[in-house]
Amino acid sequence: MRSAVGRAVVRAYSTQSSGPIVSSTLLLSRNPVITAELQPFENQYYKYQNELWRRLMWTFPKWFYFREGTASEQRFRQLNKNPVANNPDIEFPRGRPELRHSRDRRFKQELRLPKTYKEEVETGEGLESEASAAPAQDDLARKIVPNSRTTKADENDQTSLERRLARTLYLVIKSNDKWTLPNFVEESAEELKALHVLAEEGLYKIGGEQINYFNVSNTPCHVYNNSNENKKEYIIKSHILSGEFKPQDESLQFLWLTKEELEKHLDRAYYTDIAHLLSSV
């Protein structure tokens, strides 16, 4: 069985009409799953602002949250040692401490709240045996550890939808030994199909029907004049939401790539023509 793309290409060549063939190209993207990576300056600026914000915060009213004489208050006191007091007999070269409610008002307040789980740094005494026993997954008191922002697919699997979670990925397939965006030409001349329908049917034909996708608009977002094949490629934008692109033809190769990787895989002229459609996040 020849692939749908192969057939489309054959059809493109076999057309007799002199005008360019109308075809529909699908720009299928997987939107980022996690927030974008911060740039170094952004990161540093947020850190600085956060420090200023902490410096200007009011003192924590511990008597309100930890009632005097309770066990939790004692635990809180164990974790938070009082700062150095303003002793008139001592010289303080870096300025006298100004304590209010056992916080030095010249600095931010460093607070350590008692946790529901055991932490070695907190107590620091013989917890080795207890620490080794990992808490059960359904234990409500367990420490919450977020999932890693990188996945196994990041290593070398470019066909996975789980790679580069912070970036937008675009589907490219190999046709005629060249990486391109999937392009579809109408097969039968009898009825005219709208461009987005053409793209949808083409996608189902090459990638199976187990794809949940959202078509942004029926309007094409770009036209690429493919003079080599005498084709006009109207680009339709859509997002994959769930499901998977499973090539129906074993020989069909496909990749999910970011904008920068597309630059390496696509033809230079082709890439510069469509670069403004691609997201750099």
Binding site: P40, F41, Q44, Y45, K47, Y48, E51, L52, R55, F92, P93, R94, G95, R96, R106, F107, K108
Partner: protein, 392 residues
């Protein structure tokens, strides 16, 4: 410190010194803001450098244990704590802004090359304006320039640099301009003397012959001054904010619109001081005693006579107007009394760019000043009963 030139020129002095300076030298090798008058880069004036070397070092290097150099008291300096993470963030911010400034300087180079070959008058003017704008944007976020403009007195700034003029203009517009315009309008200088004013220059006035601090410093517009404090001609500073290439000619008038006119039972305007054809530019911007002693005869077409309000006359306004001239003026003899300032401005094609006002009334020193200027004894005004009865 410790600029890059000093590092380069004196690199022979020894490795020890270089190592000492190296810690401050985190600025990368391709830095725009650390070159001054260097041939290999765009020429930048030395005045764009922070003028106190120890503060410059403490600004550009990481805050040290010994504290910021701008705090003079030793124990206060030690007790000061910088915000956390400010140094690292500043370093990154500085690098970003500096790279941007480098790009702008490259643009400036391009425009300067264009300016050399340009022949069309309009194009030349456009190019010059663009270069000035770019020079401002290249330096306006330079921390050294910001420091100089924020914490050093305006008189120490190099006004030949467009960026300092821009910063001075912003400062002027945020306070002094508003005060001046308010006083001019509240005291009806506008429209009693001239119909309106579009302020372009910062006009400051002082009377340096006074010994008291109170009267020898710059006069706030609208202040009431005693006669002895204004007995000598004032020093006038006219700060232009646009670039003045060769000298620009200015004229200055001081008029008193409150001279009692008994014949018409009203007031007339008197010309108290007239200067014309005073050449000034961005840096040389003061008409002071020295200048008047040297070229006073050339500039002055009406000698200075201070306002001497007679007893029981109301407050009198000394309205100072500054005009830009289009060319050299030849002003003949002008009568002091019944001076028509509007007609004068129209006939000479003057363009009002700035104004100032102070007020005077009768005080103990008036008689002395009158004697000094040979004005004779002053009159004393009294209330007179009207001819009509108050109640009909």
């Amino acid at each position: 410190m410790l600029s890059r030139i000093s590092l380069r020129r004196f690199s022979v002095l020894g490795a020890a010194k270089a190592a000492q300076k190296a810690e401050v030298d985190w600025i990368a090798s391709k830095n725009q803001w650390s070159y001054f008058n260097d041939e290999s880069y765009v020429k930048r004036s030395e005045s764009l450098k922070l003028n106190k070397p120890e503060i410059r070092e403490s600004l550009l290097s990481n805050s040290s244990e010994s504290g910021p150099a701008s705090i003079e008291n030793y124990s206060q300096r030690l007790a000061y704590h910088s915000p956390v993470a400010i140094d690292e963030t500043f370093k990154m911010a500085y690098e970003m802004l500096e790279t941007d400034a480098g790009l702008i300087y490259k643009n400036i180079d391009r425009f300067r090359a264009k300016l050399k070959t340009a022949t069309d008058e309009k194009e030349i003017e456009f190019l010059k304006k663009t270069i000035d704008k770019l020079l401002v944007s290249a330096e306006i976020s330079n921390p050294e320039v910001l420091y100089n403009a924020t914490f050093n007195p305006a008189s120490t700034l190099d006004m030949s640099q467009p960026v300092y003029r821009q910063l001075a203009k912003e400062k002027w517009e945020s306070y002094d301009l508003m005060i001046t315009m308010q006083r001019l309008e509240q005291l009806h200088v506008i429209p009693d003397t001239l119909p309106t004013l579009e302020p372009k220059v910062d006009v400051k006035v002082k009377f340096p012959h006074n010994l008291e601090e109170e009267f020898s410093s710059w006069v706030t517009p609208g202040e009431i001054l005693p006669a002895y404090a204004v007995a000598q001609p004032p020093t006038i500073q006219i700060q232009e904010f646009d670039t003045v290439e060769s000298k620009q000619l200015y004229s200055v008038l001081i008029v008193n619109p409150d001279t009692p006119d008994l014949a018409t039972n009203s007031f007339s305007t008197t010309l108290q001081y007239g200067l014309a054809n005073v050449p000034l530019d961005n840096v040389d911007n003061v008409i002071d005693t020295k200048k008047l002693l040297e070229n006073g005869d050339k500039f002055t077409f009406k000698d200075y006579v201070p306002l001497v309000p007679e007893k029981n006359a109301q407050n009198q306004r000394a309205c100072l107007w500054v005009f830009k001239q289009n060319g050299e003026l030849s002003i003949g003899d002008v009568a002091r009394e019944n001076f028509d300032i509007r007609a004068f401005v129209e006939t000479h094609g003057l363009n009002a760019v700035g104004a100032h006002v102070w007020r005077q009334h009768f005080d103990r020193s008036v008689e002395t000043v009158r004697e000094q200027y040979g004005l004779g004894k002053g009159r004393v005004f009294r209330r007179v009963r009207g001819t009509k009865p108050i109640i009909e």
